[in-house]
């Protein structure tokens, strides 16, 4: 293709001239050997891509989904993922590299100039449009017939309402849901995962247990959701009774064993980083820190409310039980919380 400025239709943006800077020719422009070499390079890239695609199919058939190979630097990895990905990546990359190399080396690299016609209609065109609009508006009577206009607007304004109303059954009303958990008087405190009941003597000083209500598995079976767990999870820790500087109610703990909600009052992440020596409970999400030896008050971080404490006691068989539900809603604050 010649590189001088052809008089192609000087339509908007189309090429109609070259820039007024002397053009430095590339090697391939003047040297046929260099051009042929560039051609070979481009073709080689395309061929590598083709071979790589075939390699992909071979890899797909050859490697089952669970075979592990050891690759330098990466270590043991999935053979199928590695080879499929490598083959696909190389195949795609080489087509792109080939096309770009082709453009850079062999396609013309003389900069051409196109015109920018101003954007916008001419004043005549605008006037004509305005006239058409006015004629149409007059013809419709939108302005001159106010009762049509007003009733139409009334109808249109009301029309989006069904779309909103239809969303009502997306979910239930909040009611008292956020204020209640499944904890109740007499419900045993059991270890998470194993659901084994806990005796007072099971927890050593400095110990921590992630615990849930004993009826949680039943409730989860019945409801098929994790909603109860999301509010009822607690953390039970033991410190020396003398180490408890304050708690939300003096008879809510037993012999240094004290239970707090595991759900952070900031935005609801489960807390679990209990520092045995400082009695601080750190939430890993946003670093809200609660002092479990001091009524679960916030000592650092963005949480604004103390952790709700769960009142616990020991039942006649010696196991830890709750004495009722939490005294306040657990988890993040909300408008109606009070």
């Amino acid at each position: 293709m010649s590189t001088d400025s052809k008089d192609l239709a000087t339509t908007d943006g189309g090429a109609h001239g070259s820039v007024d800077i002397p053009h430095k020719p590339r090697r391939a422009d003047t040297d046929i050997k260099a051009a042929r070499r560039a051609e070979r390079q481009v073709s080689a890239l395309f061929l590598i891509s083709a071979l790589s695609t075939i390699g992909f199919v071979v890899a797909y058939v050859a490697f089952p989904s669970d075979e592990i190979i050891t690759v330098p630097v990466i270590g043991p990895t999935n053979a199928s993922n590695f080879f499929l990905g490598l083959a696909l990546g190389v195949a795609l990359f080489c087509i792109g590299a080939g096309a770009i190399h082709w453009a850079k080396k062999l396609m013309p690299d003389v900069e051409e100039v196109g015109a920018r016609t101003p954007i916008g209609a001419t004043p005549d065109e605008t006037a004509a449009a305005a006239e058409l609009f006015e004629e149409g508006a007059d013809a419709s009577g939108f302005v001159s017939r106010p009762i049509i206009r007003r009733s139409l607007l009334t109808a249109l304004v009301l029309l989006p309402i069904p779309a909103v109303v239809l969303l009502r059954d997306l979910g239930p009303l909040p009611g008292t849901k956020l204020r209640e958990t499944i904890w109740a008087d007499g419900v045993r405190v059991v270890s998470d995962v194993s659901y084994l009941p806990i005796r007072l003597s099971d927890i050593p000083v400095g110990g921590m247990v992630s615990a849930v209500p004993e009826n949680l598995p039943e409730v989860e079976e019945e409801t098929g959701t994790l909603n109860a767990r999301a509010k009822a999870a607690v953390i039970v820790v033991r410190m020396l009774p003398s180490e408890i500087r304050s708690q939300q109610n003096d008879d809510w703990s037993v012999d240094g064993v004290i239970a707090y909600s595991k759900i952070c009052t900031h935005v609801g992440c489960p807390i679990g980083l209990y520092e045995q020596q400082t009695h601080h409970l750190l939430c890993p999400c946003h670093q809200s820190t609660f002092d479990l030896a001091d009524s679960g008050n916030v000592v650092f971080g963005p949480a604004a409310r103390q952790l709700p404490q769960l009142a616990i006691a020991v039942d006649e068989d010696g196991y830890l039980v709750a004495r009722g539900d939490f005294a306040e809603p657990v988890g993040p604050s909300f408008w109606e919380r009070g």
Partner: protein, 246 residues
């Protein structure tokens, strides 16, 4: 104040400590530990300005000694918020025989958790899946989902556990070292501890099917790779496309 599980059961010792072993342990203790932990392991309070303070060791049990000294946390390298595992370079200052002696001495001071037996550490038949559930319920909040460790407050951190010895993992759960809470034998039963250890060890050896693991610390590493490697490579290609060819 005892850092250990003063109320935990003292499990039957693997082998009865002899009087000579206890005496040897006492000598090693006096040399290397008493300046912070007291001549009779009663502890040194922070008010005593002449010496660094350390908690009393009566009742911490042999397991605590084996853990702290065996992982190089003790003798404490420098005062600070964290007692890091050590040593950074070279070998531990004490060999296992000496550690056993010191452990025997401390165990003789008061009942405390004993060094886990080989039977207790045998995790081959443990329930791997349950180990994972237990790990995620009790451990991952501090040590991260793959046991790579995580931050605690004020400069402390929960160290990585992936490369720890099974015995040390067991002992850590048993004795609650430093900031770590105690997971007694009756809230996390021995077979559950074995399951957790099996999970940690399996995870450590697990291949990374997707390629480079990027540290197994989550999206932060992925973000770094995307900006530096991904966009970097693509910007470089864009520059290549735009640059005039020779």
């Amino acid at each position: 104040m005892a850092t250990g599980a003063a109320q935990a059961e003292a499990a039957p010792a693997a082998s009865a400590a002899t009087a000579t072993q206890i005496e040897e342990g006492r000598q090693l203790y006096l040399e290397g530990c008493s300046s912070c932990h007291g001549l009779n392991a009663e502890g040194v309070s922070a008010a005593d300005k002449e010496n660094s303070n350390g908690p009393g060791l009566i009742g911490v049990g042999a397991a605590a000694v084996d853990f702290q000294v065996g992982t190089g946390r003790m003798p404490l390298a420098a005062p600070g918020p964290q007692a890091p595992a050590g040593p950074k370079y070279g070998e531990l200052p004490y060999d296992q025989e000496q550690i056993n002696a010191m452990a025997a001495y401390v165990a003789s001071l008061g009942p405390g958790p004993a060094i886990p037996t080989a039977e207790m550490l045998d995790y081959e038949d443990a329930d791997l899946a349950q180990g994972g559930e237990l790990f995620r319920a009790n451990c991952s909040q501090c040590h991260n989902f793959a046991g790579k460790g995580g931050a605690l407050t004020n400069g402390k951190y929960a160290p990585p556990v992936v490369n720890s010895e099974p015995v040390h993992i067991y002992e850590a759960m048993l004795t609650g070292p430093q900031s770590m809470p105690v997971f007694g034998e009756r809230t996390i039963l021995p077979e559950q501890k074995q399951a957790i250890i099996k999970f940690i060890k399996t995870t450590a050896e697990e291949p990374n099917p997707g390629g480079l693991a990027l540290g197994r610390i989550g999206p932060v590493a992925e973000g770094i790779v995307v900006w530096i490697v991904g966009l970097g490579a693509l910007a470089a290609v864009a520059v290549w496309i735009g640059v005039k060819s020779k």
